[in-house]
């Protein structure tokens, strides 16, 4: 009987899990694996999420709504984790996730994970530190993006207004 792939078989793909030790399977194995058919919604934007979701197999599409229009943000594959932001903020899900292909996932309740963290379970600790690492990188990258957008936007506005002024003052005698 062929062994089912587990989340940690793919951990090298996910930035969250690529540094986890080889014996990390034990934590995940205590959570049941679920089959998610293609097209099924795994979580919905603005709805409460109670689990960390580990993708073992397949592909999911992450979508976020802006002014009532859904925009595809990214596609994630085996080795990815969903729900880490929601776990720490206690807010509703920030995006909708839909299975793009048939998927196998593990669901680990926040309560279970946090309990393991308090017990200083090595895998839970590793996941925790990797989460901090990942979130810090995301924050840094977002800050740079915001600064870049602000700069571009301000520059555009000032140039546009300067052109408007120059045009009226130089070309027209009102």
């Amino acid at each position: 009987m062929a062994q089912h792939p587990t989340f940690f078989h793919h951990r090298q793909i996910c930035p969250l899990c690529q540094n986890l030790p080889p014996n990390s399977n034990s934590l995940c194995q205590s959570c049941p694996q679920e089959n998610i058919p293609q097209g099924k919604e795994i979580c919905r934007e603005n709805h409460k999420l109670h689990h960390l979701i580990f993708i073992c197999q397949g592909e999911v599409e992450v979508k976020k709504h802006f002014q009532n229009t859904p925009f595809s943000i990214t596609t994630l594959g085996p080795g990815s984790i969903l729900g880490e932001v929601e776990m720490w903020t206690n807010l509703t899900s920030s995006a909708t996730v839909i299975a793009k292909k048939d998927c196998k996932i593990h669901k680990m309740s926040y309560h279970f994970f946090q309990q393991k963290l308090q017990e200083q379970h090595p895998t839970a600790l590793n996941i925790f530190f990797e989460m901090v690492h990942l979130l810090a990188h995301r924050l840094k990258s977002m800050n740079e993006k915001i600064i870049s957008l602000l700069h571009t936007s301000q520059k555009g506005k000032y140039e546009e207004f300067a052109h408007f002024k120059q045009q009226l003052l130089q070309n027209w005698d009102f």
């Binding site: 207004f161 052109h163 408007f164 002024k165 009102f174």
Partner: protein, 414 residues
């Protein structure tokens, strides 16, 4: 294709923006109103019933000075109409280069079904609601559809209760409460002056030219009087009830006397001209047509059959955009409303100056200054039209928008 006044204004503005190369973001800056106000105006009617009316004031732009525009009482007043008219006032005051921005206001009511006492209550309550955003350096109302010098006197009095004696808060007042000599005739005189300058541009004069005047209210009758005094032949006139024609020209002073003494204030029944259906006016041949009544009367179909050389727009928006194109092709000279009927707001400016100076102007000075301002604006419109190969309406909008834009640019937005 039919155009609402709002659509027509948008079309004319879009042409001006294109000529001036104004980007969409700056266009938005120029088009967005400074402040829009909607208030409830409750009054107790003479029969003891409480009636609640809705009042509006849109202050469009104050880059060039305090905002200026009329207040109208009409059953069809609504926020969109008021907003559009407020924007037009911004461009109009800029075309004649007076230091005002644009505003407009109104109350949705049927003034003909109200007593004078009810109208006074309505006006005072509306002023009470608005007084915090009015003022000689903020926003200065004026008469408009179904409002007059008496209504302005009530506004001045009510505003003065809150802010102290303040004639310059409103213009179009009776002379006895700080009004100016010649305000009543001002829009009509402006139309006459616009006619004079348009003809002069082609080395022509008013004398012996033939005129059709559609609408014989305040604007049409005063314009007719001045044209008649300068030797023009008014061969046909019309009002809401009917029309009159006379191939040798109608005796205008006699017609005005007849109208003033007619119980329903109509020209119909005047014995010294031939009666005709009011619609026939547009089928007659003449040198000049002056539409001086409602907007939207010159449609595409009417434009195709018009047989005139000049149109001087005394009314607001009498020519629809598709008719405008036909007239341009027929080489009819259309002097646009944004300039032609700006005499009223220009003399309002003189009244405001007079009130601030506390020094009354003579009628002669009012007439001289109005002529000077109308001539200067006309020359500028013609210059832009010639330089950019534009029709006069687009040139006038270019002038108005350009002047406002220049002030906005110099004052800055941060």
């Amino acid at each position: 294709m039919s155009f609402s006044p709002l659509e027509a204004t948008k079309l004319y503005l879009s042409k001006a923006f294109k000529v001036l190369e104004i980007s969409p973001r700056i266009q938005k800056l120029l088009l967005t109103p400074y402040r829009e106000i909607k208030v409830e105006v409750p009054i107790e009617r003479d029969n003891g019933e409480i009636e609640i009316y809705m009042g509006y004031r849109v202050q469009h732009n104050n880059a060039r000075g305090p905002m200026k525009g009329g207040i109208r009482y009409h059953p069809e007043v609504d926020g969109e109409e008021v907003s559009n008219l407020a924007s037009l006032m911004t461009w109009k005051t800029a075309v004649v280069n007076i230091p005002f921005g644009g505003a407009k206001g109104g109350i949705t009511c049927a003034p003909r079904e109200m007593s004078e006492r009810e109208l006074e209550k309505l006006t005072r309550r509306f002023t009470e609601r608005l007084h915090i955003v009015l003022g000689p350096d903020i926003d200065i109302p004026a008469p408009d559809v179904n409002t007059n010098a008496q209504v302005m006197a009530w506004i001045m009095d009510e505003y003065s209760k809150y802010c102290g004696y303040c004639p310059p808060v409103v213009t179009g007042k009776p002379v006895a409460v700080g009004g100016i000599e010649g305000r009543e005739e001002a829009t009509g005189r402006g139309v006459f002056l616009a006619t004079k300058h348009a003809l002069a541009a082609n080395q022509e004069t008013i004398e012996n030219k033939t005129f059709l005047i559609q609408g014989f209210g305040n604007v049409g009758s005063w314009a007719a009087k001045f044209i008649h005094e300068h030797g023009g032949k008014i061969i046909a006139v019309s009002d809401a009830f009917g029309g009159l024609s006379h191939p040798q020209g109608i005796d205008i002073p006699k017609l005005i006397h007849y109208q003033n003494n007619n119980p329903n204030r109509s020209i119909v029944g005047f014995p010294e001209a031939d009666a005709m259906e009011k619609e026939k006016l547009f089928q007659l041949s003449a040198d000049v047509l002056i539409p001086a009544a409602l907007g939207g009367v010159i449609t595409k179909e009417i434009a195709q059959n018009l047989n005139v050389r000049y149109i001087i727009e005394g009314a607001n928006g009498p020519t629809l955009p598709d008719a405008d194109e036909i007239l341009f092709q027929k080489e009819v000279i259309v002097v646009p409303d944004i300039y032609a009927n700006a005499g009223g707001v220009t003399v309002s400016y003189f009244e405001w100056v007079q009130n601030i100076q506390r020094f009354a102007w003579t009628h002669q000075k009012v007439v001289q200054e109005l002529d000077r301002i109308m001539e200067k604006a006309w020359k500028k419109i013609r210059e832009i039209a010639a330089r950019k190969n534009l029709d006069l309406r687009t040139a006038a909008f270019v002038l108005g928008v350009g002047r406002v834009g220049k002030t906005v640019a110099l004052r800055g937005i941060t």
